[in-house]
């Protein structure tokens, strides 16, 4: 085990025990912060599957998060409790299923088009499709347009009450653990090997007889669904959703988290989200102009990282 993995596991351990301590010491604000951290970490973990392991630079992941959030917000707005007697009392199942299915569907449709292209086209097209969703929700007057939508009632689930900050937190935390486990399992499977092989040398994988288009599309759909799930959590957590959640700046931030923590590693996105939230919190505490040092930091990381950002991803020195 290298030092980085140990840091990640320590971070997970801290996240498991810290929030009750925050509450006990009267720092409830930090529970909010850690909840946001954990939810963003799920979204970053999902992006890592395609960006880190698949080498597919998706610049539109915030759209999935947004779709997931609206999949909670819109049924809540209409007071729809889903169908079927069995789940009627727990609309959370319905909300989360809707979030996952819709974002998976969106990933399937856009992914089928985006993955026909590569390189810089892929970056721009994923970005454009995300912006399409952004403008779609801005044009929907019923759901608040660019003013956003307040979720009056959080999703109802058996055993947990999302209105209680600590229960909300642990629900997100367990979800994060599951997300990490899922991505780790996928990456170590034969499927994950093909995905990573296609990143390193697509021609070789094609020659070996793999249809890498389908493998990538499958990874893209899984990743989108997972990001949608994170969106459903985020909607439930903030109880306020707006198209701003899908702005391409959010997508850029998710990418930045991965790069910060180390792409193509299981715990990298989590560490990156933690670093991102902490830096954001500290900087925004001192100045409203915190984007300035933040942006400079981002430029410096890219310019001076050994072997470039891809070097961080592959762990190899390019020179």
């Amino acid at each position: 085990m290298n030092r980085k993995t140990i840091t990640g596991i320590v971070l997970l351990g801290l996240l498991a025990v810290l929030p009750p301590i925050f509450i006990a010491t009267g720092n409830a604000f930090y529970v909010d912060l850690t909840t946001r951290l954990v939810i963003l970490a799920i979204a970053a973990t999902s992006l890592n599957l395609v960006l880190g392991y698949g080498g597919l630079v998706s610049f539109g992941h915030a759209a999935f998060v947004g779709i997931g959030a609206y999949a909670v917000g819109i049924p809540a707005y209409h007071g729809i409790y889903g169908g079927g007697e069995l789940i009627a009392s727990f609309n959370g199942f319905y909300h989360i299923a809707l979030a996952v299915i819709l974002s998976a569907l969106f990933a399937l449709i856009t992914g089928a088009i985006c993955l026909r292209t590569k390189g810089v086209y892929f970056i721009m097209i994923t970005m454009a499709f995300a912006q399409m969703v952004y403008y779609l929700f801005i044009s929907l007057e019923t759901y608040g347009a660019d003013d956003g939508l307040v979720i009056d009632l959080r999703s109802e689930l058996p055993l947990v009450n999302l209105d209680k900050p600590l229960q909300m937190y642990y629900f997100a935390f367990v979800s994060l653990l599951a997300a990490l486990l899922i991505v780790r399992t996928i990456v170590r499977s034969r499927f994950g090997m093909v995905l990573q092989g296609a990143k390193g040398n697509p021609e070789r994988m094609v020659t070996l007889g793999y249809n890498i288009y389908l493998y990538r599309l499958a990874a893209y759909v899984i990743s989108g669904a997972m990001a949608g799930y994170a969106g459903a959590l985020l909607g439930n957590f903030t109880t306020f959703i707006s198209p701003d959640m899908m702005d391409w700046h959010r997508s850029g931030e998710l990418m930045f988290m991965i790069i910060l923590g180390g792409a193509a590693t299981t715990l990298g996105p989590l560490m990156g989200s933690a670093a991102f939230i902490v830096v954001e919190e500290i900087l925004s505490h001192y100045t409203v102009y915190w984007h300035l040092p933040f942006g400079l930091m981002l430029i410096a990381i890219v310019l001076f990282a050994r072997g470039g950002v891809m070097g961080i991803i592959t762990g190899k020195d390019k020179s």
Binding site: V57, F59, T110, I113, R116, T117, G119, V120, Y121, I123, M124, I125, M127, A128, F129, Q131, M132, Y135, L136, I138, S139, L140, E141, T142, D247, W248, H249, G252, M255, F256, I259, Y289, H291, L292, F294, G295, L296, M297, L298, I299, I301, V302, L303, G308, V309, M310
Partner: protein
């Protein structure tokens, strides 16, 4: 059908198309020749608008302000090329995307710091602020006609430069084979810096032209850059011809879609349904067009030959 409205909206579409072309041509030049993805191109558009707006208020004349602001924006582009872009030419597109994303944050915040959080409204000289009445309900603001005229002139100037001048020849040669160009003794670094500054000036010019209509505001670059991406994806990244045709196509489709889609929808659905669905569809229209083009031609309509 209201033909006067159709004519006015078509001209508005042409106007948007020309502004998009100014932004997209810089983007496609920089990508085609430098192989560099510049997300911060929209920030230069905004920077141009702010510099021009500030100068207009300081000097009291919009046109003089523009004449000064264009080279200043080009200078800002040159500075960015030297400090951030140049070390990244040999790097991955992901590096370029992230660094220029950081650059957007920096430029946006600097503008916020220098010019304040509010947008700046740009007053037009009286002779530009009027309207021209063409009869038959066709009344057009003088300034919009000026934008169209100016945009066409710039587009022609750009085509002339790329096609008939020595620097244009070098630009085309650099786009096809940059190693060969530098082997023939051309200072490729200077050429790159020139192209980058030229792209910045074009984006800044577009921002300046639009600022009397929309005012200079901090988010303005972020909206246009995505549309400019759609334009060059549709047109084929790296192609000037593609950028022009893509820009006109997207400009017209977007403008006409927003104004007439509800009328068209009302032909085959209830007015209420048309009224609710039309804004949503027209907001997505250009992306649907983009998806359709890509489904048929993944490299865009006019992919440059030498790539």
């Amino acid at each position: 059908m209201d033909y006067a409205l159709l004519l006015v909206q078509t001209l508005n579409g042409v106007q948007l198309g020309l502004l998009l072309f100014l932004v997209a041509s810089g983007l496609t030049l920089v990508f085609g020749i430098l192989d560099f993805v510049n997300l911060a191109h929209g920030a230069l558009y905004m920077l141009g608008a702010f510099i021009c707006a500030w100068l207009t208020l300081a000097l009291g004349n919009f046109l003089i302000a523009m004449v000064i602001a264009v080279p200043v924006t080009a200078g800002a582009g040159y500075l960015i090329e030297r400090t951030v872009a140049r070390p990244l030419y040999a790097r991955d597109h992901l590096d370029q995307v992230l660094a220029t994303f950081g650059l957007i944050l920096v430029i946006d915040t600097m503008v916020h710091l220098v010019f304040g959080p509010e947008g700046i409204a740009v007053p037009l000289p009286a002779w530009l602020n009027g309207q021209l009445d063409f009869g038959a309900n066709v009344i057009l603001p003088t300034y919009r006609l000026l934008i169209i005229g100016f945009g066409i002139l710039t587009a022609f100037g750009l085509f002339w430069m790329v096609t008939y001048t020595k620097i244009g020849m070098l630009i085309r040669a650099g786009a096809s084979n940059r190693t060969m160009v530098s082997a023939l003794g051309i200072d490729i670094q200077t050429l790159f810096a020139f192209v980058f500054a030229l792209g910045a000036a074009l984006a800044g010019l577009a921002g300046m032209l639009i600022s009397p209509i929309t005012e200079a505001s901090i988010g303005m670059g972020n909206n246009i850059i995505i549309t400019a991406f759609v334009v060059i994806i549709v047109g084929g990244i790296g192609s000037m011809k593609g950028a022009f045709i893509g820009a006109m196509l997207i400009g017209l489709i977007d403008t006409l879609g927003r104004s007439f889609l509800d009328t068209i929808f009302a032909l085959f659905m209830s007015p209420a349904a048309a009224e609710t669905s039309a804004p949503a569809i027209s907001a997505m229209l250009i992306y649907i067009i983009m998806a359709a083009v890509l489904a048929v031609r993944p490299q865009g309509l006019f992919p440059p030959k030498a790539r």
